[in-house]
Amino acid sequence: MKLLRVKPGHGEVVLAEGDVAVPEQYSRLLETFSRELDAGMWAAVPTSTHSGKREAELVRSFEDVPADAERVIFFPRAAGGG
């Protein structure tokens, strides 16, 4: 699983990468995930339905991330614009 964050002036940045089945890697992923959420980021997992339609799922905790998710994308929290 890859944890990515989109950033101004850079595009995506890989924050952490690892296998959730490996304990050390799991804890590193969990730590990074929590840090980004604490920093006010939103986390989304790109998914696709049985019909092939692509969509995303917002996750609010690491336990919500589907086990087969290949990546989680962090992006800044939405704010009403002018």
Partner: protein
């Protein structure tokens, strides 16, 4: 007695203000000078921070990420037309949204192509890497797409709603819908032919 004291106080005040005036003027001029110097330095720093090559690379990365998340048709729509369409799911009447980079999300009725409203939403990165809060264009579109497909109601409630035409001209939106319809007709119609060369004659 009181009158004499009052008059003296007034005279003293007037005298002091006359004496202090040049100092005051000098202080104001100095403050103004410092402010303009600080603004100039800030502007220079911003110019230094802005790197068109970096912005271009960021946008390239953002496009690759967006492409990997949306389906092939949506990607083709975005790369050829400059916006994405997402179907709305909250109302009985069919409607959809157009997502433009760094512009409001535009809702329109599918049956009439009537513009329903603009939803102003931003994803400002408060950490301001490279001095800006703005995501690359395609990352902004991706953020809107992810938030909209994941939780349409939450995003719409978060957005500031305005009448259509406030930031995206209605004429432009209508033109985009016509372009979209043509584009879809072309894609769903006969299989694509290779463009004919000028002067060539099709075989019988």
């Amino acid at each position: 007695m009181a009158l004499a004291l009052g008059t003296a106080a007034l005279m003293l005040g007037a005298l002091l203000s006359v004496l202090a005036l040049p100092h005051l003027r000098r202080s104001i001029d100095l403050a103004r000078l410092r402010l303009s110097e600080r603004t100039r330095q800030k502007r220079l720093a911003l110019v230094d921070e802005y790197d068109p090559g970096r912005e271009l690379r960021a946008e390239q990365r953002a496009r690759t990420l967006l492409r990997s998340c949306v389906n092939e048709e949506d990607w083709a729509m975005y790369s050829e037309l400059g916006f994405l369409r997402v179907w709305g799911t909250l109302e009985a009447q069919p409607y959809a949204y157009l997502i433009y980079p760094h512009k409001p999300i535009l809702a329109y009725a599918l049956s009439t192509n009537r513009m329903l409203g603009e939803y102003c939403i931003e994803f400002p990165d408060r950490t301001r890497p490279y001095g800006t809060t703005r995501l690359p264009d395609s990352d902004d579109v991706l953020a809107k797409w992810m938030a909209l497909t994941a939780d349409e109601r939450a995003l719409i409630e978060q957005a500031n709603m305005h009448l259509a035409g406030r930031q995206i001209r209605i004429a432009k939106a209508r033109r985009d819908l016509v372009r979209l319809a043509c584009w879809e007709r072309e894609r769903s119609g006969s299989p694509r032919r290779a463009p004919r060369r000028a002067g060539s004659v099709s075989a019988l």
